[in-house]
Symmetry: C2
Subunit: 404 residues, 2 copies
């Protein structure tokens, strides 16, 4: 029998319990083992749960899991950055394998935890942290030894993609859509990490570091979120027969890399334009395989729980690539080489502001109510610095990269 | 050191040698082993090769590989059905692991070879046989224990997709495009298996049997190829704001399954409409993951060789799911339940023929030069039988399913 310690019983944790229940027979046939959740760590031991649980399975004392000799796999689903990190580290140090969906922890502590797990000859798997139910990290890891990967890009956050899709298709306000998304369970009560782009950034940091076999940090990535977008922006984008998506992208150049997470305006007939609602998609390019695309549900109870359990089975069957998957290449950040045309909208404009930005403008889209321009080919930071020097608060503008 | 016996040194075999060469370091780092091709079985020992090979590596005697104790993995790339089968069976019986790209063998002997490999505790891996460089079979196998898969569909043949894309975009004749495809190496000199749909059918038989965990045979699949398509057909399809793809599809119903490979007319804005040229795509649906799409190059030297070597590494690292992946469900063929509207074109028509098919017609598209109709919702075999009873040769008609 395989015994699991589960940390957290929120949406994903509940999904894990549910799938283990309904696919019991198939899992036993495949693994030759019964898989049992032995202990579940929760914050509130008296909270009412949607699912029936055995007596004494719930605990608020992590030591009960750490010290339980029969528990060989800890599944960390707390969603909490520093606590999640401490739990994972302690589990590895106690000789237990780790499966986690916690992208914040994986992003911040990827090198340390990968190295610790490898040293201890244990698994540290985090498929669910990127792309939800899409088996992207495993596929990527398995291509690494065979391919030189030169590019990874993706729509990596279901909440942002849902908001942008609805704003575009239903012509709704940002706040209205966000509210509906929260009611439907697509967006969390505190959606800051999603809409400000941090969630996409973390996933890109993980993908990039694996793909390029060298450390790409959160700080290496240019970041612009979608929280300031307004229906006026959507109108301008539609006029250009384009749509807008929050895209994360790392590219290897001859002597380094570029990395960004930015709202990106793309033609309506391009591939990413058809990735809608809560769907995610990741594209990578390798020298042998060429372009490989993966598409599926990037979030949600069952897709995410499915990814978590895929890792669990890989541990039980030994069917994962052992050892530290991270390479030691030293890569130079070449983001200053990134030049693009950008869409820039500034609210409550006055004439002096328009004059101040005129010399980065290639095309004036509007001067009424909002100033909207398409910039010349320019660095993103140049725009941000210019706006800052003009005293324009970041609540009052929206920037999006334009892909031709 | 890991020693490989390679059977066949055509396009894919050459790609295998090339990747092993250029990714030597990375592969050694990952596997901790040197991977060496010890022997290569060829038909013509004196043929000039594009690649430099060590002396004495080439042989025309399979026993040299079978009896070589140090060879632990046989990579079968002959492309020949019955000979390939004999080679694979003999290798497994001699205790050697198998990697093959030979979809004809895998399709015909899937149950026998899976069972033999499992009995011998050896690997029988065939990722390259479906979807070329796209890691679809492994992903599918790994979802099986967790998901109930209810549908698999795909564009599975690069040659057909290239032909249909070019006929549609460049308004060329079938023969012209085929010739170009052959010159460019997309299509083989004998393209029968591709354009008559056999290749797609074999891949679908493999996908369906894995997905549904019960035997779906070549004979279970309704088959119509693309070899009779003419520019006139493309014109009619364009008028309906649609395009055409050769699609393979298996669906599970409540008490059985349906399976078909048919030219399929789809709306221009649908997902498969954007899978063009030599690209393949496979979509499957599971109860946990929802819809998962994979997209990439379905053929070609390096993508296919990459898939072959992915299997080789999995064997070396032990990172594949061991045991027989096939289930024992008994599934009922429900193809007679499949009703669709079809596009039907008959060349060199006469008035009596039109009268004979009038009562299956929902819409008459043309009576000039060719009769073209859209049928009512009808069974595919009903059309074929009607045409046969009218004495219309299968060189003189083209049928395509219409998806709404």
């Amino acid at each position: 029998m395989i015994r699991i310690g589960l940390l957290g019983l929120g949406t994903v944790g509940t999904g894990v319990v549910e799938i283990l229940e309904k696919r019991q027979e198939e899992l036993k046939f495949l693994t030759g083992e019964e898989i049992k959740i032995k202990k579940i760590l929760v914050k509130d031991i008296n909270k009412k749960r949607k699912i029936q649980l055995e007596e004494n399975i719930i605990t608020y004392d992590y030591d009960e899991i750490l010290n339980h000799e029969d528990i060989s796999i800890v599944v960390e689903l707390t969603g909490d950055l520093e606590q999640g990190y401490r739990y994972i580290k302690a589990a590895l140090e106690s000789g237990k394998n780790i499966v986690t969906a916690n992208k914040a922890v994986v992003s911040k502590y990827l090198e340390e935890l990968s190295s610790l797990a490898a040293k201890k000859d244990l698994a540290f798997l985090y498929e669910a942290s990127v792309g939800g139910g899409i088996p992207i990290l495993k596929s990527l890891k398995e291509e690494l030894a065979l391919n030189k990967i030169t590019e990874v890009e993706g729509i990596l956050n279901g909440t942002c993609n849902y908001i942008l899709t609805e704003m575009f298709n239903e012509e709704l306000d940002y706040e209205e859509v966000l509210e509906v998304a929260q009611e439907m369970g697509y967006a969390e009560a505190d959606s800051t990490a999603d809409v400000k782009g941090y969630d996409t950034l973390r996933k890109l940091r993980i993908l990039g570091t694996l793909a390029f076999q060298g450390e790409i940090n959160e700080n290496d990535i240019l970041l612009e979120g979608i929280s300031e977008i307004i229906p006026f922006d959507i109108e301008q984008i539609k006029k250009k027969e384009s749509t807008i998506k929050l895209i994360g992208e790392v590219k290897e150049l001859e002597d380094g890399f570029t990395a960004l997470v930015q709202p990106t305006i793309i033609k309506e007939d391009s591939y990413f334009a058809n990735v809608n609602n809560a769907f995610n998609s990741v594209v990578f390019r390798g020298d042998n395989v060429g372009e490989l695309n993966f598409y599926g549900l990037g979030a949600g109870m069952l897709p995410t729980a499915n990814a978590v359990l895929g890792d669990v089975i890989d541990i039980i069957k030994g069917s994962y690539r052992k050892g530290n998957p991270l390479g030691k290449r030293k890569l130079k950040n070449l983001n200053t080489k990134l030049k693009n045309e950008y869409y820039l909208r500034i609210s409550s404009p006055n004439d002096s502001i328009y004059k101040s930005i005129e010399n980065i403008s290639k095309e004036l889209l509007s001067k009424k109510d909002n100033i909207a321009i398409i910039t010349k080919e320019i660095e993103y930071l140049e725009i941000v610095e210019l706006l800052s020097s003009l005293g324009i608060d970041n609540n009052n503008y929206f920037i999006a990269r334009i892909l031709k």
